[in-house]
């Protein structure tokens, strides 16, 4: 027995040593090309810091490595992993780490219980391949997790997954503040809401802004994308879905078994999934938790932009539009007459509307009562006053959260900023709305839109 132990130690000692390459979300470290085990050192620093939970909304996050989720750790099946946990002296609290990739009591939690200004270390062997959540397990555990203390560790299988063009890192989490979504300023953690499981925010990568606009995930048409998706919780289960995509393959729960042709995959709190898909056509694909009020009212929305030539065979875009009279016309079922396209600028605006606005405001601008305000027959748009002309540009470019009354109905939702509109496109889409469905406002010129855009305060970017 003693001899055996000695043998094991000497084998471990002979392993080549390396430092793990770690990345901040949404990036994933490159695939490991080694074909034999190594001793891999992972260093994680716990940092308590203020970052943006949504536009203008600050929150004190507790983080592994300064981001939510924490740094992505990639090791290989069979590796020996030496993990250092460093707790910054500026932190007020003790922390530890439980990695679901660890076989052993507490997943490392007891071995890494660390006071502020101290560091600890433990070593584990990565026995099982797969994608695992890691998180803090210090009392009160739920609160440490609710404040952002989670991330993913990927134990790459001995036979690696096929190469893809892009790998990205996305983790959903629920957050609990006294104030509802979008109330600006520093918002403290609400113990009450956490216990009641009533989050005010459900977001990807620690912020409603983390994967939108310029921070959207990017790929080109024809490329294959692999998302390493986790759910930190602490409470909610995610129905992860990408609008307009079908997952060609899902590694269920981050394990080895795969399912093909999946629309929505369930990711438990403290669990994961690996999803793969090929981008067959261009456009913006929206990542959501398909428990939809989380997506449209609590921030669980991200974007993946596919650039390149669209494939009309895969997706045509709108081909026709006609009046439908239902029972009122006998002829309607017999023959549909395509309408002539409207003026070129308006047509452009119409397509932009369909791509960017119709998802919420609906194809005919009718909105969803109580949820998304109507744009058709809307008193807000009926005659756009001069002061409101700039406001509309701001809503589109910066998003809008909070109360708005349209046709006497109060809306208290969130409009996410629309990205990718230059001044010409922005003018076109506004003019389409401002002159359709009975709206009769003076059109915007490109120069006018440009003026309003330049007068906007700079977009506040989150630190992560």
């Amino acid at each position: 027995m003693v001899v055996l132990l000695g043998l094991v130690v000497s084998v471990v000692g002979a392993l080549p040593a390396e430092k793990a390459v770690m990345t901040q979300p949404p990036l994933v470290p490159p695939a490991i090309t080694r074909t034999t085990p190594a001793k891999v050192t992972v260093e994680l620093e716990v940092v308590e810091k203020v970052m943006q939970l949504a536009d203008g909304v600050d929150y004190v996050f507790w983080t592994f490595g300064g981001t939510v989720p924490g740094s992505f750790i990639r090791v290989r099946e069979g590796d020996t992993v030496e993990l250092w946990l460093e707790n910054s002296p500026h932190n007020k609290l003790p922390h530890n780490i439980d990695l679901h990739a660890v076989t052993g009591p507490g997943g490392g939690a007891a071995s890494t219980f660390t006071a502020p200004g101290h560091k600890t270390r433990f070593t584990f062997k990565a026995l099982n391949p797969g994608l695992y959540i890691y998180h803090c397990a210090t009392a009160p555990v739920g609160m440490h997790v609710a404040n952002g203390m989670y991330g993913l560790i990927y134990v790459q299988p001995k036979v690696p997954l096929p190469k893809v063009d892009h790998e990205y890192y996305v983790v959903q989490g629920d957050f609990y503040t006294d104030a509802d979504f979008g109330v600006r300023g520093l918002q403290p953690f609400s113990m009450k809401r956490a216990i009641d499981e009533r989050p005010s925010y459900v977001v990807f990568n620690g912020s409603a802004l983390s994967l939108v606009g310029d921070r959207a995930l990017k790929a080109k048409v024809g490329e294959k994308v692999r998302l390493f998706v986790g759910n930190g919780g602490p409470n909610l289960v995610s129905s992860f879905h990408v609008i307009g995509e079908i997952f060609d393959r899902v590694y269920l729960e981050g394990g080895q078994k795969t399912q093909e042709h999946v629309q929505t995959t369930l990711i438990p709190a403290g669990g994961s999934a690996i999803v793969e898909f090929k981008l067959e056509t261009d456009g913006t694909f929206i990542l959501v938790d398909h428990s939809l009020f989380r997506a449209f009212n609590k921030g669980a929305l991200g974007m993946l932009k596919a650039e390149g030539a669209g494939n009309k065979e895969v997706y045509s875009g709108r081909e026709m539009e006609d009046v439908y009279l239902g029972d009122e016309s006998v002829a309607s079922s017999v023959k549909a007459t395509p309408v002539a396209p409207t003026a070129p600028v308006a047509a452009d605006g119409k397509a932009l509307y369909a791509a960017n606005c119709a998802m919420c405001h609906q194809p005919e601008g009718q909105g969803l009562p109580g949820v998304f305000p109507p744009l058709a027959k809307s008193d807000y748009l009926a005659g756009i006053t001069s002061s409101r002309r700039a406001e509309i540009v701001e809503f589109i470019l910066r998003g809008k959260a909070g109360k708005l009354t349209v046709n006497g109905v109060e809306y208290n939702g969130v409009m996410t900023p629309v990205a990718g509109l230059d001044d010409v496109k922005l003018a076109a889409v506004i003019n389409f709305v401002a002159t359709s469905w009975g709206n009769k406002s003076a059109p915007y010129s490109t120069a006018e839109v440009k003026r309003y855009r330049e007068a906007l305060p700079p977009a506040s970017a989150p630190e992560h």
């Binding site: 003790p94 530890n96 939690a109 219980f113 210090t138 009392a139 403290p188 113990m191």
Partner: protein
């Protein structure tokens, strides 16, 4: 300079209004109750009104060269010992980066001792009007807000929580504080194993879970204490002294 400060400080404490007597009472701490036990009896005791200040601690160092940073044993205090004492602060600012051993020696030098965790929690459960506000969500949230923030420069100069119903100040919102039996109650390093703790490792030899699962502020204090060893020094950890009631 040190002795002048010391004289001024000693004149004002601990008997010149620097400490108050807390009456005997009963208290249910977050951990430590036996099954079926409702609370503990707490005997009357004296407790400093505020945490020990840097000036007060400087007087102790003047009288006790062995505890100065350049001569103290690494067995008794970590490398950080008194590291932040060089930063500029108001004279009332609490001494921090001080180990359990040093805090204990300081109180003994004054003929006193550190409060027990039970005594400290008993005192700290009071707000300005009630003796036990630990079940009041607003009180707990106020404490939690401080715990949740990373420490900021200048924070040690703040006043901390106002004088509570016993006349004790700054038990919350300023620094964590040592207690004499800080590691007697283990919030296990892995919080989810509370039910498995061996009897006898806990204060009062009880091995039950916590009395109030929603008192997150108390959870965090117990977790912090459990993470410490007696030589630990933290830039957010100070202490105050206790003694016999009079």
């Amino acid at each position: 300079m040190l002795s002048v400060l010391a004289a001024a400080v000693l004149a004002a404490s601990p008997d010149g209004g620097g400490a108050v007597t807390l009456p005997a009472g009963r208290f249910a701490p977050l951990f430590g109750l036996d099954e079926g036990q409702k609370d503990f009896a707490v005997a009357a005791f004296r407790l400093d009104v505020r945490p020990v200040s840097r000036a007060e601690f400087a007087a102790f160092l003047e009288a006790s060269p062995a505890w100065r940073p350049d001569s103290v044993s690494r067995q008794l205090a970590e490398e950080r010992y008194l590291a932040s004492s060089k930063d500029a602060h108001s004279p009332r600012a609490p001494v921090v980066d001080v180990s359990y051993f040093a805090a204990k020696a300081y109180c003994a030098w004054r003929g006193q001792r550190l409060p027990t965790t039970l005594e400290w929690e008993y005192a700290a459960a009071a707000d300005e009007v009630t003796r036990d506000a630990s079940g009041d969500p607003a009180f707990v949230q106020r404490i939690l807000d401080w715990y949740s923030r990373p420490s900021r420069p200048g924070e040690l100069d703040l006043e901390g929580s106002p004088r509570n119903v016993y006349g004790v100040e700054a038990l919350h919102g300023l620094v964590w504080e040592w207690t004499s039996d800080f590691n007697a109650v283990f919030v296990t390093a892995d919080n989810r194993q509370d039910g498995e703790q061996p009897a006898g490792t806990m204060c009062g030899a009880g091995a039950t879970g916590s009395a109030r699962r929603e008192d997150y502020a108390a959870f965090m204090r117990y977790a912090l204490r459990s993470s410490l060893s007696a030589r630990s020094t933290l830039p957010t950890l100070g202490f105050r002294c206790a003694g016999a009631a009079r």
